[in-house]
């Protein structure tokens, strides 16, 4: 059962977005998020939504997956809306007991909510169309270009890869240990929060010890294959830019330009 869990909600498909270099997608997401903060009017969001819709269509990912990402963070969205609704000063519109909802408040709340939603959608598109390995490769490449961090870029990437590799394995092991302890009468369901936390010890201790043992064996196996860190390491699949990446960058710049334009030209 755990064998089929997909991590990082990657949705495999054969689309032009999937085939883009991970660096392109990471950079796009970065710039996209920045441009979201440059939006000052609803027209800006209109531009953003058009670009986003285009990307979603091209990606062949069912819209349902993107909505799911929003559903997951609905709590934060509601919180933001509420705070902005009740805290913003200005011309009052409604009143609930002592809490005043102003016109400015409604406007700000909607704006913030939209910003959050677009942020989530944009990031979702990236993780849905980029496999975890490609993402790790892309991040490693980009980290290598940041001073100070670049000394650790390889190690960070290696940690991410190994973590991704072992997540399904560790999930299976958790299941096994839980069953073994349940067979000895352990109870993971009943009891208050404190009791349940205590009851997790027979699960967590073996899991951690097992994980350390694995790490030790893995390290020896890696050294046996001449692993000595990132110096002079080559890759099976080097990241290579294609024409489609150039187009993608051009589209990104066009999007940012249009969004900046909406700060000055307002269509309602």
């Amino acid at each position: 059962m755990f064998k089929d869990v997909t991590v990082g909600q990657y949705y495999p498909a054969d689309s032009v977005i999937h085939r883009l270099d991970p660096r392109t997608k990471i950079n796009f997401t970065f710039l996209y998020i920045i441009s979201l903060f440059l939006i000052t009017s609803y027209t800006g969001y209109l531009v953003a939504v058009l670009f986003l819709a285009g990307i979603i269509l091209l990606s062949k990912v069912p819209v349902g997956y993107i909505i799911r990402g929003i559903k997951g963070l609905i709590f934060i969205i509601i919180l933001t809306v509420l705070i902005n609704l009740f805290v913003t000063p200005g011309t009052p519109k409604f009143q609930l007991w002592k809490l005043v909802i102003t016109e400015e408040g409604i406007h700000l709340a909607t704006f913030m909510a939209l910003r959050l939603i677009f942020l989530i959608m944009g990031t979702s598109i990236m993780t849905l169309t980029t496999s975890p390995i490609a993402l790790t490769d892309g991040i490693e490449y980009l980290l290598k270009r940041i001073p100070i961090v670049k000394a650790y870029a390889h190690e960070l990437a290696m940690m991410m890869t190994i973590a991704l590799r072992f997540i399904p394995t560790l999930m299976e092991e958790t299941d096994k240990i839980m069953k073994a302890q349940k067979a000895r009468g352990a109870d993971f369901e009943t009891g208050n929060l404190l009791k349940r936390a205590k009851n997790l010890i027979p699960l967590l201790v073996p899991l951690f010890i097992g994980a350390f043992r694995r790490a030790d064996e893995l390290a020896i196996a890696m050294e046996a294959r001449c692993y000595r860190g990132g110096e002079n390491r080559t890759r099976l699949k080097e990241l290579v830019y294609h024409w489609r990446d150039t187009y993608a960058y051009m589209v990104t710049i066009a999007m940012i330009a249009m969004i900046i334009l909406t700060r000055y030209v307002n269509i309602g």
């Binding site: 092991e173 349940k182 067979a183 073996p206």
Partner: protein, 287 residues
Amino acid sequence: MSIEFIHLEHIYSKGTPFEHSALENVNLNIESGKFIGLIGQTGSGKSTLIQHMNGLLKPTQGTVVIDGLDLSDKNTKIKEVRQRVGLVFQYPEHQLFEETVEKDIAFGPGNLGLKKDEINSRVKEAMDTVGIDYEEFKDKSPFELSGGQMRRVAIAGVIAMRPDVLILDEPTAGLDPRGREEILNQIKSMHSKHKMTVILVSHSMEDIAKYTDQIIVMYRGKIKLYDTPENIFKEAQLLEEIGLAVPQVTQLMRRLKKIDPLINESVFTVEAAKAEIISMVRRRKDV
């Protein structure tokens, strides 16, 4: 203390694209006090089957009745079932977690709500059964023991619950020949001494043949055979078809039968084979 499966079916991830049928129309009745072997290739459903025996898994269809208790009945207390049916998983040493050997073995009885001195006597008894000296090991950390010792502590942890049925999933996995022999002998003597029902899941036809009264053979979620070792090994053809080998000596006997029809081909121990071959050689001399 019987275990009964009626039209048992288990499907994993039902309704999803990963749907997978692990058990299909399993009907089984395990009598009290027997030493049963369970064999089948990886993926035949052995693990799924044994997890139904103590309620860790619920059937998607069918009924499980343990010692008269219907597991689908809401009134059945699962904890009671888990006390009566002890299950030792593969590589049980991976479940050890306590600071001392004594505390770890006491975990099971502790969960049963027993009194301190009762728990203490059970721990001593369990350690004795698996051959781990109480005084020497009780205060040691389980993690400073050798692999084989850790395994025995883990098994003691289940035995301390005094189950009526003990299920062991490949207790010899990863052990060397000496370790294998020791553990199997201990299990056999436990069975004789306490008259508990023992179900031994194994990949080794030779081990199962040597120690069990009856063998359940599984293939692709179904029970293909359930009989005494003698009768099982008569079905060498079927066993080969489902990817299981009969013991080496049985293979030999089948080949010799083609040359000398008087040979008993369902022999599976070296001792019995010796006797058969000696008779065969004498017959050939007389010819």
